[in-house]
Symmetry: D2
Subunit: 278 residues, 4 copies
């Protein structure tokens, strides 16, 4: 029976890897629909994403590939399935709204299982789309207590990726490491410029002529995780920081959705603090 | 003895091509420095550009590759050598000047063998760089007669690519076909918008908010050849067409030089009226 | 009582205009919050948009301004009020959805009075936002009959601007002239490239390296009206036309919303077939 | 006799300024060719750049304007004249070469009076253009001693603007303050990201998806002066830092030349640590 899988390999670079891997495909009479490779020479690391189709047994293919790649390699043979995402937000609706509209249109290869917010502001918007909304206020409780409540909800649903759609709270290392490589954030500046609070105010004060947004995986260091996508727009002296904030929203939402689509399609490898995007 | 070659393959897509080709490399213990592939599914065509290093015989490698790819395939095994370019220009100096400066800085993997122009304007600039300059006036002679004179000069020098650096004359089909796939032009608009004369005036009259430039291979149809590179800049109502022309020069020269570098590095495949750029 | 108005003047250029107009403001002790001027020298036309605040009588100000500008001038003294927009759509939800989300967030200085579509596809999305949806099928009736039905609905509501959010039907000259300068369209290409049907397919076939979108006022000539905003994104040989279409949606919706905000803020003058955007 | 001057005003904002200033023009029957204004509301500062033509006495006009603007205002009434620029460079030729080519083409409204470099590398290039070249080595002498030598040369020539065309030495506060608001630098990153040494290496390590360049006035704080122009280009994981450096050169030279043209046309106001660019 015809199948299609995505094969993702990430390992130490060795002579003959492409040959060995393509031999596995060839021997099983598989068709290569799409193939991207990259060698990080500095680190001597090999990355490959291949889409193959054919009549084959997935476990057998995985075993065969394991035999030709280094023991320490990361190998994924992914059968197509709709992923689950959970969204964390605060008060601003543009990034969340953009994802909701795409979800509604069937543009995302994912189901939004729930939206969790530390304010009630977005409840009515989320309700319009018949998606579960959880208001977990952070008032009067510690950061740890708040995260515990959030974790209860998100764990109940389960998810492949957690999307911080302008979630304006800093996460603890504990929270971040619990969902390592699964949290995607949109930072409202062209990182690494303007790390931290109110980047638009910082950008205005610095008098920059371009502003941007950065989608990245979340790691312990605030705004320091591997960057998935970035984009920018020109600004000029006429824009006050509130105008920059307003103009920046369009970049933020587009960059976040672009990054989300990339990870949903298994197109992003994490390579230390950088990414390979195929 | 350690060698490095660029292998370029362009053929009908077949199952097992990557396997067969990588086996050839593997059997000769070659190292793959860089590999890019693309399959045009609509046309069922396969494109590959691989840089391999090792201790091997180039002719033997070429023969071995020929055996595993279709008979009708285009195969190039290119040993590194500095290419020769000849430049045709008219009066404007920005595109020509940009190439001259890059050439002087050793940034181009090519030698400029000569500059041919239908006006004398650029003679002093070219002389500054000790590069042969030929003024071939088109006054009072037919297009064919003029091209004949140009061909005498360019053929005497020989070249890998002819660069039209704002050469403002239309070429005859005879001239174009003589140097098929070897002529690169910069068109001062975002093609296919504003084909033909004075695109900036056309752009201004149409009231566009963005202008651009297009580098392409020259084919019989005016401004219709395969596009190699394009770029744009924003404009607004304040710019008269002369201002657009001035602003556009920066895009023109950068796009032309970018395209030139791509072809000099054998990174461009022609695929019908389109290009594959690795 | 403190008031704020937008003064828009569009007239033949005369020496002393700025002086005469600023004198009117000065004599009434008005504060100039924002001022933009432009002179189209080719046409000798003067454009000005000024936001003034102060304690004044709007009609008296208008009369005073009329006395110092040419008789044939277009003068608008606009008191802030929320405008009304009506949206026409077909099946695609991205442009419509973007406007709905902005509307919900209070980002648009306008009320969406209704959405009219020639298919039922978008009904459930629009219903989610409690906005009237009208499905007016074009099946089995003439273009004129269909437009008559549409006009009945839109006239019942009244509107300042009609937004064609990927409305895939061609409008008759009669319809267009009925709502002259009030209809805004998003064309899914970088006009004037790829006028007409399926621009992404055209773009793919032409092998362009950049695609774009154009928001413009609708006039009789298909895709030929004054351009308000344009933007582009890079593409490459890997994208089939369906991929370009998908990537292009982000540009389309952002450009349309940007243009919509500009007209809602009275920042756009029509100057023949071009626009002045302040 | 018909004259044309640029009037630049930069002062505390007052009600009636535009009226008072335009009255001065009106009373002298001057024609306003171009006018740009901006009010920085936060700082309550007014900026204006107007080009006027007519038959008038420049000193009388200046006096008349002085009477209607605040005592503390900065007023310049500039008669057109070719400015003088001096270029400081090190080893890289792209930014210098771009300016030389524009100069040769008559595109710059300035004369290059000399090029000063701390290495000999660029001597032959500069000689090609018959422009004085001074090699002032920094070997074996202190920063202060080196700058003293540089100042001797640049002072001998005199200049309106000093252009640091990839001059890779840090200037002392003494040097900077001597030529306050007259030194323009190109920084090879999108400031404020990657301040300091080897920004491309920093950018590569951070894994950014966009790189840029920033032209700014030089102040005491390294890379912290008012920004005049910025631009960016996309990059991806395939680029090593040397590739980013190579790709970045195009942005650097275009941004520097754009900024240079802006200051030569008196289009840039310094507003604290920001600029107003008309």
């Amino acid at each position: 029976m015809e199948k299609r899988v995505r094969v993702l390999i990430d390992c130490q670079d060795n002579k003959g890897l492409v040959y060995q891997i393509s031999k596995v495909f060839y021997d099983r009479d598989l068709n290569i629909e799409n193939n991207r490779e990259f060698v990080d020479k500095e680190q001597s690391k090999f990355f490959m994403r291949t889409v193959v189709t054919g009549d084959f047994n997935v476990d057998e293919l995985r075993d065969a590939l394991k035999k030709v790649i280094p023991l320490s390699a990361n190998l994924q043979v992914i059968e197509p399935r709709r992923k689950k995402i959970i969204i964390l937000a605060t008060k601003e609706s543009h990034a969340l709204g953009d994802i909701l509209i795409r979800h509604e249109a069937g543009e995302l290869d994912a189901d939004i299982v729930a939206v969790v917010a530390n304010h009630k502001t977005l409840e009515s918007l989320v309700n319009r789309f018949d998606i579960p909304f959880f208001h977990i206020s952070a008032n009067g409780i510690s950061r740890e207590e708040h995260e515990e409540e959030v974790m209860k909800v998100v764990n109940r649903y389960g998810f492949d990726y957690m999307v911080l759609a302008k979630y304006m709270r800093i996460l603890t290392p504990n929270f971040v490491s619990t969902y390592s490589k699964k949290i995607i954030n949109i930072h409202h500046s062209f990182l690494p410029a303007f790390i931290g609070a109110n980047p638009y105010k910082q950008a205005h004060q610095r008098g920059v002529k371009i502003i941007g947004a950065t989608a990245h995986f979340v790691t312990d260091d605030l705004d320091e995780g591997p960057i998935i996508a970035q984009d920018v727009i020109p600004v000029n002296h006429r824009l006050e920081w509130k105008d920059m904030q307003k103009a920046g929203r369009d970049v933020e939402k587009i960059v976040l959705s672009r990054a989300l689509n990339l990870v949903l399609n298994d197109r992003v490898f994490i390579n230390g603090n950088r990414t390979i995007v195929f």
